[in-house]
């Protein structure tokens, strides 16, 4: 009830739209200037995670679905892209008296194709996992997504092309569209930034579309949305697939940034980290996940020498956020200034 009252007293649509545009302009400006002051590879890594967190936030923040296994799409897309860019071999099994392998391609792919196919792969995985997980609600949904991600972690450990404990490395950066040499750090940064902004704007567009309004209706009251005639399961599945695909996009550019794909990115602790980034920045805020991702990645970067303390501090932030700052950093600011961010 309190939430409903809040919705009504929220500022009018037009002015809140303005605050978002201003915040977006500030974000783009900061991200354009930052590489002159901060080590670019760190920024590129942070941008990958920021996009990952935005994709995750699309589910938890706007549909109310807690996917505790989002590392699945991020990590597997990372494997797909790394493999396609480095080896590029795709084989499918077929039956001709006995099982045979049909090799479709067998040469390293250009970055744009590798990324595109990796995103498709993540979307397919998301569609399958989503159709299984949406059969249960609430807390069960979280447990199912976590369990599915753990299953795919074991597959990643055993699959022939992932390199097991070693991962895939080194991943060549190559030439984008045959023109831009991604080995150049500056071009690479622009590329990562453009991909991030495109993903970000896509999510923004989805949230503010009629489709996004239905998603929010499901978040607020799924039963009522059903009674209004919406097939909520379909909406949830489309949102889940979309979120998985965007998480996959973030994962697919990461191997080009750090030049490897590894088990870390499919592990449950990565799923936990993206939850933490989003929670810290602000669930259901547009800019929160970006700030949260930069904060957590910066913390990991600067505390790297302190071993287990990173995990301990992350756990502590979880506890603090849940007990005291459930709106997250951006959510608290937005609430203070009475604007939408």
């Amino acid at each position: 009830m309190a939430q409903a009252a809040q919705q009504i007293t929220a500022p009018a649509e037009a002015s809140s739209h303005k605050s978002e545009v201003i915040a977006f302009a500030i974000m783009v400006l900061v991200l354009a200037v930052l590489p002159y002051f901060v080590y670019p590879p760190f920024l590129m890594k942070a941008l990958c995670f920021a996009l990952f967190a935005c994709a995750f936030n699309l589910l938890i923040g706007y549909v109310g679905l807690l996917s505790f296994g989002h590392a699945l799409y991020f990590g597997w897309a990372s494997y797909f892209a790394a493999h396609l860019a480095k080896v590029g071999k795709i084989s499918i099994p077929y039956w001709a008296g006995s099982w045979q392998w049909l090799t479709i391609t067998n040469s390293p792919m250009v970055p744009e194709l590798a990324i595109f196919l990796a995103v498709i792969g993540a979307a397919v995985l998301g569609f399958i996992a989503g159709s299984i997980a949406i059969r249960r609600q609430g807390i069960y949904f979280a447990m199912i997504t976590l369990a599915l991600a753990q299953m795919m972690y074991f597959f990643a450990l055993q699959a022939p092309f992932t390199g097991g404990e070693d991962g895939i490395q080194p991943v060549p950066r190559g030439y984008l569209f045959g023109l831009f040499n991604l080995a150049n750090e500056r071009i690479m940064y622009v590329f990562v930034l453009v991909v991030f902004l495109l993903g970000f704007l896509l999510i923004y567009r989805v949230i503010h579309s009629p489709f996004g309004e239905v998603l929010k209706a499901i978040r607020e009251n799924e039963q009522r949305a059903i009674s209004l005639g919406y097939k909520t399961d379909r909406y949830k599945l489309v949102a889940f697939t979309l979120s998985a695909a965007i998480a996959g996009l973030a994962g697919a550019i990461k191997p080009f940034v750090v030049q490897n794909a590894s088990l870390t990115d499919v592990h449950w602790s990565m799923s936990g980290e993206v939850v933490l980034m989003t929670l810290l920045g602000g669930l259901g805020t547009i800019f929160g996940p970006v700030l949260g991702a930069f904060t957590i990645i910066a913390m990991q970067n600067y505390l790297a020498g302190f071993g287990q303390w990173v995990t301990i501090i992350q756990g502590g932030i979880f506890v603090l956020c849940v007990l005291l700052f459930r709106r997250g950093i951006i959510g608290e600011i937005a609430n203070l200034l009475r604007i939408r961010l």
């Binding site: 807690l66 505790f68 299984i132 997980a133 059969r135 249960r136 609600q137 609430g138 807390i139 069960y140 979280a142 447990m143 199912i144 976590l146 369990a147 599915l148 753990q150 299953m151 074991f154 597959f155 450990l157 055993q158 449950w268 936990g272 939850v275 929670l279 071993g307 287990q308 303390w309 990173v310 995990t311 301990i312 992350q314 756990g315 502590g316 932030i317 979880f318 506890v319 956020c321 849940v322 007990l323 459930r326």
Partner: protein, 291 residues
């Protein structure tokens, strides 16, 4: 296919042992969820703490395994009560997801602290002298300690089932799960009951940890992976039924053991695959009521 009977029974026994832990842990999760509406993500960390407390008791207090079976669950259960008072009690009116997030954070802190102090290699814990040795069953050899784990956890599970389903205390618990306000109106201290329930669930996890100590080495990460498997067990069984949690736990342990024998590559994933099959065919879980 040639079936090597001793090897098959060996894997079945390991399956039963794992099943004992799945049953104890999913039972604890179900009891806690029933009263608190919180999925206790720290359950794995508390299981690990049980094993560590048993190790500390032996090293620093000279208390052997048999004492640890009683003392460790009490200590870790007491720790659970502190957690409930300090953190969880503020979450009951919020979305269930916050309980999951908070206990996940607690699990990270606890596991991080233990790893910081003890690294990730295991500490050895001896099987108590009364339970060393093996029994010759004719077709296979049965280590006494493993037989003890299966029998004892079965007794604990059935005891818990009996308390919850057949005693007056259990009736209060079940009533408070259904309608806490009404039960309070009858003069029963429901908040204290909730606290003690959490302590009891945590103590069950710690008890499993003590029993696991001599089998797996005492290790800071021992609870991290098992908890995800236990989540899958809980999804398969549904948390509505105590007996369901017990049966599913043991059953899936056995299935996992059989998989280790017949198709070892899939032994890590078989429980998750079963979860998928159950969700596709019976979305509410084997023993669950439709949501």
């Amino acid at each position: 296919m040639d079936i090597n009977l001793p090897a098959l029974f060996g894997q079945l026994l390991i399956g039963l042992i794992n099943g004992s832990f799945y049953a104890l842990l999913s039972l604890g999760l179900a009891v806690i969820f029933g009263m608190l509406n919180i999925i206790n993500f720290a359950h794995g960390a508390q299981y690990m703490m049980g094993a560590f407390v048993a190790y500390f008791l032996l090293q620093f207090a000279g208390l052997n395994y048999w004492w640890a079976l009683i003392v460790a669950p009490v200590i870790v259960g007491g720790f659970g009560i502190l957690i409930e008072r300090a953190f969880l009690q503020w979450l009951y009116k919020l979305d269930h997801l916050y309980g999951l997030l908070l206990t996940f954070g607690l699990a990270l802190v606890i596991q991080g602290l233990f790893r910081h102090q003890y690294g990730s290699s295991g500490l050895p814990y001896q099987i108590p002298p009364q339970l060393t040795g093996v029994r010759d069953l004719g077709f296979t050899f049965l280590p006494n300690y493993r037989a003890w784990v299966v029998v004892f956890s079965l007794v604990v599970c059935l005891g818990t089932w009996f308390i919850i389903e057949k005693t007056r205390l259990g009736a209060y618990l079940r009533a408070a799960t259904e309608n806490p306000t009404l039960v309070r109106a009858f003069g029963i201290n429901v908040p204290r009951m909730i606290t003690l329930t959490y302590g009891f669930g945590v103590a069950l996890a710690a008890l499993a940890g003590v029993m696991a100590a001599p089998i797996y080495a005492v290790n800071p990460t021992m609870g991290a992976d098992i908890i995800i498997v236990v989540f899958a067990v809980v999804v398969i069984g549904g948390m509505g039924s105590i007996m369901g949690a017990i049966v599913t736990g043991f059953g899936l342990g056995v299935v996992e053991g059989l998989t280790k024998y017949f198709f070892p590559e899939a032994s890590n994933t078989v429980i998750f695959v079963i979860m998928v099959i159950v969700l596709v065919t019976r979305p509410a879980g084997l023993f669950g009521r439709a949501a």
